[in-house]
Amino acid sequence: MKYLEEFRDPQIARRMLDKIHILATRPWAIMEVCGGQTHSIIRNGIDQLLPPGIELIHGPGCPVCVTPLEMIDKALAIAAHPEVTFCSFGDMLRVPGSGKDLLRVKSEGGDVRIVYSPLDAVKLAQANPQRQIVFFGIGFETTAPANAMAVYQARQLGLDNFSMLVSHVRVPPAIDAIMAAPGNRVQAFLAAGHVCSVMGYWEYEPLVERYHTPIVVTGFEPLDVLEGIRRTIMQLEAGEASIDNAYSRAVTRSGNGPAQSMLASVFEVVDRGWRGIGVIPQSGWRLNAQYRQFDAEIRFAVQDITTQESELCHSGQVLQGRLKPNQCPVFGTLCTPRTPLGATMVSNEGACAAYYQAGRFHLNAYEQPNTTI
């Protein structure tokens, strides 16, 4: 695939790693905010190949993982309605709520469907006027424009059987909260590439100022991640702190104008709870007054739902980068991808699932087979 495979070149990757090994003279703790980056790092084994002093702290960049428990329970309640066709991205189906997950609701007779794009849910609403189509609108700023367009379209088409359960989160307030938290060890951030494709990176400039922390906009392929890390270490070693764009083929400072306009006309900023972390002020979006009639929370009157987190789950600490998954007392025993206690074990991008799938408790990750083929 063009503009994808070239950024996986193993020879260049090895040389970039060599460069990083030379550059880093001291230990540094860098947080990657994006679940997609976490996935790429673990999947490609990048963190195993970095100098031992460079620690990658996996941030709360997995929208699946940070969707508040109440929101999952609301989704479960709505999906159980017989007249509802509940549409969601695949990632959300196995996230445990207080008692069950959407797959369970499906097995109990709920009409739960995976869609690739929110517009597919709008199409379903058009084709099935007798059903109530509800779309689970989760995600960071990357996904928000798509979800906004779905609601906008529903309004244009005059659909009264379409609604959205909105649980959007924004990255800059999360970075702010992490840096301001007592005991924070993060010294620099890899900003999420595609979030910045939409929002640009001008929002991060005040954060760089306030905390004197380097922030480097980074992509997802191995070479992109290595480049982001390399540029971050360069700044750290030089005592510098600025915003840098290492994903220039997909990111500009101002971002995507039309997308931002749509966001402004459909959503408004609100305080949002992040699962395992708590409420971060101004860190979320909800439908604004003009589009409130499409809000599934109101339509299905699920605003008051009591929740019950597993007492054994340490997702929150993992999400804040305070605990590595394999330091959690129930990691791999009571909590596995088959029997997840929290969202970080369910989602592919969750740090716990990534660690488990990569066998990070199983064996020495530097295993070298003897034969060459």
Binding site: M149, S197, V198, R249
Partner: protein, 85 residues
């Protein structure tokens, strides 16, 4: 958070008042909403996330990045030919 992959725009049309198109990913063709990339043309590359083009891919920038990456490695090798990775 952001599974977005690059593809080439092969068709542009309008459906229900929204700018749509077809994008080719190494032979896989998917209908994609192009509302957020109003200036994109057939033959251009774009990054697609959940059925939406979120940005035009800057091909010149991509080539430049690759050139720099390749060069990076060469320089390292010249400076430290005995260095083990």
């Amino acid at each position: 958070m952001c599974l977005g992959i690059p593809g080439r725009v092969t068709e542009i049309f309008e459906a229900d008042g929204v700018r749509m198109g077809r994008v080719d990913f190494a032979g896989i063709v998917k209908e994609v909403c192009l509302a957020y990339v109003p200036e994109i043309e057939i033959g251009d590359y774009t990054i697609v996330h959940v059925g939406f083009a979120i940005t035009q891919l800057d091909e010149a920038s991509a080539q430049e990045s690759l050139r720099l990456f390749a060069e990076l490695g060469t320089l390292t090798h010249e400076l430290n030919p005995m260095q083990d990775g």
